[in-house]
């Protein structure tokens, strides 16, 4: 078998091990002087199935919805899905104080700004 290969074999050409549908969750992003607030829509995702990763200015959100399927389906309009979305966040975020809560299928992520980066009022002294 010295002939030319049909496809070039590449090292690190990893086979995909799952075929779950991927979707991009819709998000709202708000900001005030203290924090950046992110809302992401992930209906049906349990809180244990959400991963939030902040690394070197990259924020990755991922949430997997796996629905229990019993009985005979009359119709099925939505199924299992992996919500995935990445953002770049400023380095001024205080990673240790990031908080997240999940309510009604909406993930709320609070990204507090570090003290040093908050806007400061400079007082002008009378000379």
């Amino acid at each position: 078998m010295d002939g030319k290969d049909v496809v070039k074999k590449e090292k690190g050409n990893v086979e995909s091990t799952r075929s779950i549908r991927q979707e991009i969750p819709l998000v709202d992003i708000y900001e005030n002087d203290d924090e950046i607030l992110l809302h992401a829509e992930m209906p049906g995702v349990k809180k244990d199935n959400i991963t939030i990763n902040i690394d070197n200015g990259n924020l990755t959100l991922s949430g997997v919805r796996s629905l229990a399927k019993e009985g005979a389906a009359e119709w099925e309009e939505f199924g299992d899905v992996e919500y995935q979305r990445a953002f770049s966040v400023p380095q001024t975020i205080d990673v240790d104080k990031v908080q997240a809560e999940l309510k009604d299928g909406i993930l709320a992520l609070h990204l507090p700004k570090s003290e040093a980066s908050k806007p400061r009022m400079v007082e002008i002294k009378a000379g």
Partner: protein, 148 residues
């Protein structure tokens, strides 16, 4: 020759992957442009799943961002109506950078495959999914027939 076949296999895998990506392109395309909940643009109703579990039906509806006060369910015989509203307002004192989750209201009516006992229906709302458990009415229940 075996090596060849596995290579072919891999190539078809790659093609399948590409097809999946292309399928997604259309979904994502429409999303990045409309910036709205994807069900509000074309069809103003939430997606649902209906399962027949023998003596009852189970309906799941995807309604993220709504609390139980925002949703109303009406059942009569085999007719089901779900309506709800979602209000998305920016929290006070925050600037808005991106707003993809929109406010919306919907009404969706469905015809169930059989009549249900409307007084025994229970509804739960968890993680943005409304689940209705609807026991079938006596006449519609499956029955074991004993052979004499």
């Amino acid at each position: 020759m075996i090596a060849r076949i596995s290579d072919l296999d891999r190539m078809f895998d790659a093609m399948g992957l590409l097809r999946g990506r292309l399928d997604n392109v259309f979904n994502e395309f429409d999303r990045s442009v409309t910036y709205g909940p994807h069900w509000s643009a074309a069809s103003n109703y939430p997606q649902t799943n209906l399962f027949d579990k023998g003596d009852h039906f189970e309906l799941a509806a995807k309604i993220p961002g709504m609390s139980k006060e925002d949703v109303e369910v009406k059942i009569q015989g085999n007719y089901l109506e779900i309506s709800g509203t979602r209000n998305v307002t920016a929290p006070e004192g925050y600037r808005v950078h991106r707003n993809e989750l929109g406010s919306a209201s919907f009404t969706r009516s469905l015809t169930l495959p059989a009549e249900v006992a409307s007084n025994k229906v229970s509804a739960t709302l968890k993680d943005g999914i409304l689940v209705l458990t609807m026991p079938k009415s006596e006449a519609a229940k499956p029955r074991q027939i004993s052979i004499k």
